[in-house]
Symmetry: C2
């Protein structure tokens, strides 16, 4: 792989960062033709910031502002500015627990991707693995989708099934879903980058 | 297999009867511990009636009455009477295009099973494979569930995934879903009969 095929990712997360680690490892191994330029978190203690710094990746806490479930206007501007300064081609949500509104999405049109622990449109929202178990489904899964202004409603890029076992608890089911997430998310990002920008072009930063 | 392990099924259908054929073949091969006692259809020309008669299985058209999407009260009584006289342990819906109401379901509590061509709760209702394709999902599938008073809402007995291909049309996707239906439905009926009545008991007709 040459430098000419490297795209730039920005990752947003609020948790331990297990999907970040899967993506970072896939980038390092050349399975995703990208580098992670920046990791941002709304929580100063989020493990994802430590996992990024361990890898020498720039990682910052940016306060979310005065709302509970989304970024306020000033915070949204700060996130957008950070990602734009880093020149990211794709914004990757990896357990980011804040809803992004139109101003953020308008800054990265069709360029924000999320992963959700169910087969959307089934079980949008929080703790989707628990919703699936409570509903009694026998098959659930993982969805990677582009983010739009709805909650878990954007165009689907990829899905993979996970079979529910009779003796599953929320914890055991969630663990198997996460294993699938860690394979599906890097593979889908790699395919999206290639499909969107072509295998050889650097897309928006072609001039570099 | 001894006669003591044979349960009795009644099948309702409005179409070609491909799921009926799969279940009848599984019964004949001993993979489902049951015999199909009676097939009823709301359409006199439905292929399912021919498929049943070819196999020597009693098959009748019973007029649905004055509504378009469900059986009217007199029709419902006629269907219930036919199935009860046949002594069926389980009512199997196989492409039956009429909604069953409380009086029918009350006559066979927890004993009516249906198959639906999606992973419920996603895409209830008609042409679920087309709904799935229109939504852009990458995984859909098949659900076998007990019937309650809602539309495609009863307790789920079994599900199986079907992967959507980039070049799928409604027809190609539906064909692959039906292949899965023809395996899942007999297997689920067999398991339900054994789980519900035990491997050796004849359940409600034990005295025979």
């Amino acid at each position: 792989m040459t430098r000419a095929t490297q795209f730039k990712l920005g990752v947003l997360g609020s948790g331990k960062g297990s999907n970040f680690v899967a993506i970072a490892d896939a980038c390092a191994a050349g399975r995703v033709p990208a580098t992670i330029e920046l990791v941002l978190s709304d929580l100063p203690e989020a493990g994802i910031l430590d996992r990024a710094r361990e890898r020498g990746i720039r990682a910052e806490h940016l306060a979310p502002g005065r709302y509970r479930t989304r970024l306020d206007e000033a915070a949204e501007r700060a996130y957008v500015a950070g990602l734009q300064e880093a020149g990211v081609d794709l914004v990757v949500l990896a357990g980011f627990m804040r809803i992004l509104k139109g101003d953020f999405l308008g800054a990265f049109p069709g360029r924000v991707v999320n992963i959700h622990p169910s087969l959307l449109p089934a079980f949008p929202g929080l703790e989707a693995w628990k919703q699936a178990l409570d509903h009694g489904v026998k098959v659930t899964g993982v969805t990677v989708h582009l983010v739009d202004a709805g909650v878990d409603t954007g165009p689907i890029l990829a899905q993979a099934p996970v079979l529910v076992r009779d003796d599953d608890t929320p914890e055991t089911l969630h663990a198997r879903i996460q294993e699938v997430e860690h394979r599906l998310y890097p593979a889908t990002i790699a395919r999206w980058l290639t499909d969107t920008f072509g295998a050889c072009a650097r897309g928006p930063n072609l001039e570099e």
